[in-house]
Amino acid sequence: MIPSNFEYHKPDSIDGALSILTEWGDDARVIAGGHSLIPVMKQRLTDISHLIDLGGISELKGISIENNKVSIGAMTTQHELITNTQLAKFVPLIREASLQIADPQVRYVGTIGGNVANGDPANDMPGLMQTLDASYELTGPNGVRIVKARDFYEAAYFTAREDEEILTSISFSVPNCGYAYEKQKRKIGDYATAAAGVLINMDNDTCSFASIALTNLSDTPVYCEEAVNNLVGKKVDSNAIKKAVHYCVEASDPVADTRGPVEFKKYVAGIIVQKAIENAIARV
């Protein structure tokens, strides 16, 4: 399983990468960790004649937390997300979710930028970034623009990123509230049958803030606006949670595949969302 031939480029700056991308257009693709792209290339499901490795661009690396704002370079690996002590302290949700992605070998190489930019509905980071209400920085030949994670995903593998743009960094505010990322999968390393990210804050027994997004339950991540609207400002008891779970399951739109029929996935989604909400409340 060896892919078709390609020319390999390893620029050391974002500008360098953009100029190669602009020069070769449709024939070029950027590669981050490559653990989604390389398997597809090996199966010759995609035709790429110029591969632009972002691994040599130091400005795409690193995690900074300043004034309650987290900024993560696109080439930061999942392993780095897990082992960064500052991030674990301020946004433990990221570590909790990252530990559930793939397996150790893949996490050493897999990047947050690749995970969110690929547009694969099975990836965990897009739903997580919608939970955190993150913003993506897209850098193209005409400069930088910011797109909200909640506006970025259009359909499976279709996103708001233009072909000549590179997703360069991700930023969001430190949440300071209860959190949980719950994922049901058939085995370690598998994609989610259903997964949910939840942030919640409470004022005594009233919900003062909530955010919920789902993974692999539609052809894009699903931000559960109705569930959130039905929680915020309400007294949170088992009935309110039940209602929120109901709205989340309603918002999901899974398809039948090897992980099960639609009914099963919706059933699992309900359990996962409920667990995530309860865990998040317990951590407020």
Partner: protein, 162 residues
């Protein structure tokens, strides 16, 4: 398509290979450098048989292009022990019957080597989680876990007595 000069340090030795960028690291190791200890199982980054240590990370060498390994420092199973001087992990796999057919073993041991560098006193759960990128279809994992825990224990004993 033009070949590239790939320079790496493999098991402590500087090597230069003329290869195509699309060539996979696993094939370069096996076919160009004759280091056939690195096994190819599924070739789809699931099974972990092809795990090698690359710049202090465990990677699945079937999912790394040769070009991405430019300048890398790589350790394969051949770099960990020799038939006459087994690595402690190899000794423990032998003692605890951590292998049956042996196909997954080079990947298991190279992965366990990096895992123990990062966590020198693991619990059983730590080992199972840390080794979750490596599949074995013979042992049921029980003895692999035992062998790795025993290695950690011995390493710590040696540290204490030193």
């Amino acid at each position: 398509m033009e070949k590239i000069r790939l320079n790496m340090t493999v098991n402590g030795k500087d090597v230069e290979v003329l290869t195509e960028p699309r060539q996979l690291l696993a094939h370069v190791l096996r076919e160009e450098l004759n280091l056939t200890g690195t096994h190819i199982g599924c070739e789809t980054s699931h099974c972990g048989a092809c795990t090698v240590d690359m710049n202090d990370m465990s990677v699945k060498s079937c999912s790394v292009f040769a070009a991405q390994a430019q300048g890398a420092n790589i350790t394969t199973i051949e770099g960990l022990g020799t038939p006459d001087g087994l690595h402690l992990l190899q000794e423990m796999f032998k003692e605890h019957h951590g292998l049956q057919c042996g196909y997954c073993t080079p990947g298991m041991i190279t992965r366990a080597y990096r895992f123990l560098q990062e966590n020198g006193s693991p619990t059983e759960e730590d080992v199972r989680f840390g080794m979750s990128g490596n599949l074995c279809r013979c042992t049921g994992y029980q003895n692999i876990v035992k062998a790795i825990l025993a290695t950690a224990e011995k390493m710590n004993e040696m540290k204490e007595s030193a």
